[in-house]
Symmetry: C2
Subunit: 362 residues, 2 copies
């Protein structure tokens, strides 16, 4: 059983825990506070015997030990935010319950400095064959979310797999990758839902089609609201890949009592894939008026941006704080969770909403 | 003075006219119905003397005649939807007026089959030098929207300029490019706001920075609501590039009286750059319930998708029809124009809203 202190634990077995609001305020989260999303038990992987098979539509199938991976390929670092497709699912629950899925708050996302080999370098070294279009990752953790249970896996299109930012990472913030975060080696696919950053990866298969693994073909898909998720089949709904523009408010916390006078509001914003965060607006009056937040620089093109604003919340009483982000193409987040609700509770990127009470402290 | 029949004309000089709802129902719009957005008088360009200068950060500056462009470079075809950044601006006007900008409805967008040389081929032929990061386009049309008046221009980042889909186009739907649409040669930048598809292009300059032209540096930027657009300077706001996910309802038309019984609702949806349209929902009761529309195949990855749905609108009375699109990443359009309103009225990609009356025909 895995455990990290200071986390908000949703499940103990498999261990699923999100980063606290306080933990989310750091530009680099740190392994101790980094969110954990598991679909099955953390597997026993021995880095001395671990190896990575590279096969499918390649000229020269290969099997790489950890020493071969780290010694035969150039090392690259990327600061990247990972975000679970279920991040902020809790915002959907007032609309309609989502049985069987963890009620993640804003903390199913975290940022680390990853070190590894470029997946593209490994693929080019093996040589791509005609028809190569998707790259599948397989891991040894077995999940009973699938029926029958199966090993975790997924895939990304070849174009993304070859992109400079995609790593086979063996280090996190300069330390060997902790087992619970996928050590000895995990895939890191910046800008895409965390589900594609497969942990404990041990097999890479170049294919013509996306992976048939349950977590690619059936799960992690945005289903229309009227769909029964238990009867959804392969290919139903929209396959989730690049992370949608999102943000949340980290302080004050929901239900917090704040003193009259200016209140400092802080949070994060993140835009997936080729998009960045360009602006964040914050409102202290439920959306009647907005102020622009000050944006911190992103640590990289693949990392979130923290922001802060000072709001005058006026006379004592309840207030709804709102935040919304705009991306570098000029697009804004959708307003309400109700419009985005879906049976598996993915991709809630509606405006951040936090209720506080203005008044003297008790 | 330019004129096309059957268009909704917003300005006669410079000629600015949008495609009718009926015209928007065709997969390929046709030159006769294609929307026209001009910033100044249509220039006199003689294709016998026209030439294209290629300079800036290139190894071999060049000047190409039309014969050289069409004979020395491979021909490519792309079916692409162009969309003005001001498309659907009229939806902003009930929120707050936008003086000095045309109240475009859903018809500042159209689709054509473009033929031309790849911009990337022309740039590679000239040879890129170190520091090349943006590609600027300049045209001879002079606009007094800038103060002092200046020639129209703009730029795109080098990565987009080199992409396969970006053309120097001399033909539209198989015919020589009409003058009002930029003939003899225009840039076509699929997936980006129409402003970057510079018409009558006569100079291409490879640069380290985006163009300093007023239409790149100051205009076509999404400003915060409180900004006075007349005092906005270069670099203010968010520079618009990739087109935001959008849709509109084409039939029934606003204010139309429809018979009781099932009503066929038709429209278009479009997602810019690397995104596609994955789903369209339509509501006949103001958003209480939704049905999924049937989506037509897109003519290319760069073209809109038409859709249709059958709605039961129930008993006589006023109804608000809504439509909203989801893109291939699982993101949805924002709900309300009020949240997106900006001083220049760009990028209104809020849900489509059309009021109709259910009742017997007069």
């Amino acid at each position: 059983m895995w455990h990290k202190t200071g986390m908000i634990v949703h499940e103990r077995d498999p261990y699923n825990a999100e980063t606290s609001r306080e933990g989310l305020l750091a530009p680099i989260t740190g392994a101790a506070s980094f969110y954990v999303r598991n679909h099955g038990p953390v597997p026993d992987v021995d880095e001395r015997t671990w190896s990575l098979a590279v096969g499918g539509l390649v000229e020269s199938p290969a099997r790489l030990t950890l020493a071969e991976l780290t010694e035969n390929f150039a090392h690259h670092e990327v600061v990247a935010t990972l975000q679970c497709a279920g991040n902020r699912r809790s915002g959907f629950l007032p609309v309609e319950d989502i049985p069987g899925e963890d009620p993640w708050g804003p903390g199913a996302t975290s940022t680390a400095r990853w070190t590894g080999a470029r997946l593209g370098d490994v693929l080019r070294s093996a040589g791509l064959r005609d028809g190569a279009a998707h790259v599948e990752f397989e891991a040894p953790d077995v999940s009973d979310l699938a029926d029958p249970p199966q090993r975790y896996g997924g895939s990304v299109p070849l174009g993304k797999a070859l992109a400079d930012e995609v790593l086979l990472a063996w280090a996190m913030d300069g330390d060997p990758l902790p087992r619970v975060h996928g050590g000895p080696v995990r895939v890191v696919v910046p800008g895409w839902i965390g589900a594609r950053s497969v942990k404990w990866v041990e097999r890479i298969t170049v294919r013509t089609d996306p992976s048939a693994n349950w977590f690619q073909a059936t799960s992690y898909r945005l289903l229309p609201p009227e769909t029964d998720p238990d009867s959804a089949g392969p290919g139903d709904g929209i396959s989730l890949g690049p992370v949608a523009l999102n943000c949340d408010i980290l302080t004050p916390e929901p239900g917090e009592r704040v003193s009259p006078g200016p209140v400092r509001v802080r949070g994060y914003a993140h835009a997936g894939e080729d998009r960045g965060v360009a602006r964040v607006d914050v409102s202290g009056d439920g959306g009647a008026t907005w102020v622009q937040a000050d944006l911190a620089e992103a640590a990289s093109a693949w990392a979130w941006r923290h922001w802060q604003a000072s709001l005058e919340l006026g006379t004592p009483g309840r207030r709804t704080l709102l935040a919304r982000a705009w991306d570098t193409t000029g697009a804004c987040q959708p307003e309400s969770a109700g419009a985005l609700w879906n049976p598996k509770g993915y991709a809630n990127n509606s405006w951040a909403r936090v209720q506080v009470r203005v008044g003297a402290q008790d």
